[in-house]
Subunit: 327 residues, 2 copies
Amino acid sequence: MKNAMPTMKDVAQEAGVALGTVSKVFNGIPVGESYRIKVEEAARKLGYQVNQYARGLKTNKTNTVAVILPGVNHPFFAALAHHICEALARRDYRMLLYVTASNPEIEQNCVNMVRQNKADGIIGLTYNPLVVGEDLPFVGIDRSFRADIPCVAADNYGGGRLAAEKLLELGCTHLAFLRTGSSSPSETDKRGDGFESVCRTRQIPCEVLRRNDGEDGPEVFREFLLAHMAEGKLDIDGIFCSTDLLAWRIQNILAELGLRVPEDVQIIGFDGIRRFGGEELYCSTIIQPAEKMAETCVDLLLAKDRSNIPALVCLPVSYAPGGTTRE
Amino acid sequence: MKNAMPTMKDVAQEAGVALGTVSKVFNGIPVGESYRIKVEEAARKLGYQVNQYARGLKTNKTNTVAVILPGVNHPFFAALAHHICEALARRDYRMLLYVTASNPEIEQNCVNMVRQNKADGIIGLTYNPLVVGEDLPFVGIDRSFRADIPCVAADNYGGGRLAAEKLLELGCTHLAFLRTGSSSPSETDKRGDGFESVCRTRQIPCEVLRRNDGEDGPEVFREFLLAHMAEGKLDIDGIFCSTDLLAWRIQNILAELGLRVPEDVQIIGFDGIRRFGGEELYCSTIIQPAEKMAETCVDLLLAKDRSNIPALVCLPVSYAPGGTTRE
DNA sequence: TTGTAAGCGTTATCAC
DNA sequence: GTGATAACGCTTACAA
């Protein structure tokens, strides 16, 4: 009458064997051939599926990993979620997804919920320092808030350097770095550092504007650009933006100002966002290896030996032209 | 030494009350005020969290819903996932996400896994007929494969009509409907039906090209357009594409052919995809109410009374100009 | 090898 | 109102 889901007991009865024997069959523990057959047959007949959570109650493993992201609406986060989900599935794990809108309370709340749901670990791209038990494996993306929590990120510093080198290679002589993003520190801050370091070394003039989300509107960037214009010309000829989204906005502003990209000024973004999740790039950009990052997070989280986990893993980025540079 | 997660027993001991009392406190069952305080204090001190799955073992509820999508890389799917996740969180449910790449085996496999994980229900955008137990609540998006499984979709038919009416209102006299998509039938097929019905009624010439994904490359559309060109002019002046992605591709082809949008030909897409998951539209389009759809799916799935669930719920769409129409 | 029984953390049914 | 106690579906010694 209630829930007709068959249990191990049903299978045992159907197969005419003991409960323990059924369990063994489903755990790959050797059992008499004839018994195995009987059990498997009964299981198929009844459509039996092990209850992972009842099992977890005993084994303290649920084969479930919680993933905490600010959201899944932004293409880069979507790509992460997608690839993490697939990487987990390949290992026969399931993904419990939480979205937080970067809200500290929600983030912490998610962590608490994860404990209720007994996930085997957490992969989290979070912006706030969280309290998470020592016992619960945690891997951070782009950010680590505790010494023993490994962080997986793209090689943001290297990506910044690469962007600078590319722009110089493409003939730029006066660069700029533009940034928006969260105010809480993260690996992504190194994008600008890498970029500036190249400029310093090569003694290239580099204008910098770093802003935090919400601090002020897009008009700061407009003003910045205006301040660098004289007689309809921009004195900057190469811009590195901290994200593809910012690059897109900058392009719009430049268009309004009557400047052409890439003729008057070349732009390189960061992320490697593709239209419709698979079509062409929005701009010339430094591509984050989302799939590799996902795979690495999962590997790190599920590693048997958690004694010598690295604190930070930076994955190689690559440059791809996307129409906003001259090549 | 092992997992230090405190249990109800620990809380009971700490609070100096019986186990059952602790349980009652956490279930809102009336209990002596002084006891409640003691329990809550002990729980806080120990950092206790109920184990949802141990609870589920008894109650047959896990407060978990499985969501099955082809992937989460495409912006529309990402939006669905995002809003479903939030809608579930609002009801104190968690989301178990599975991605299938529309592969029938993987889809079925997900359903089986869901049974292992004892989700309370499934929300699925799937392309293949699945075998899913009568007992497991299921809500389909854009498709239903069984009479008793409710389907939530945008008003695709109405959207098609709206597109036709808009194009006519904008002065078009010779229309076309272009379509790609899965070969398996779904609610989305009605987009073209609605569009054509308006054309028929109003006696407007309407060229139609319906293709299935993978049947052939993008060149069919190019050929189609070429076949409708004479002396560098297109005899069609209004195109309705079954998705924004297709509209984007068509725009690219038109550009190659030297045709201008919206001057020479106006285009309306379907979906309402926004750049970077929140910026402007790609084209003039019929917007699917992703958030409402998500909310509706969750409502339907979690409805107390599942006796009179509708078979199909179509949510209202809206039109928004996005630069590919003249207004 | 196979069967038995004691938990895992929780809820629910009872006597008290 | 409170506190034992028997499930829930499964794993795992341990005994047969």
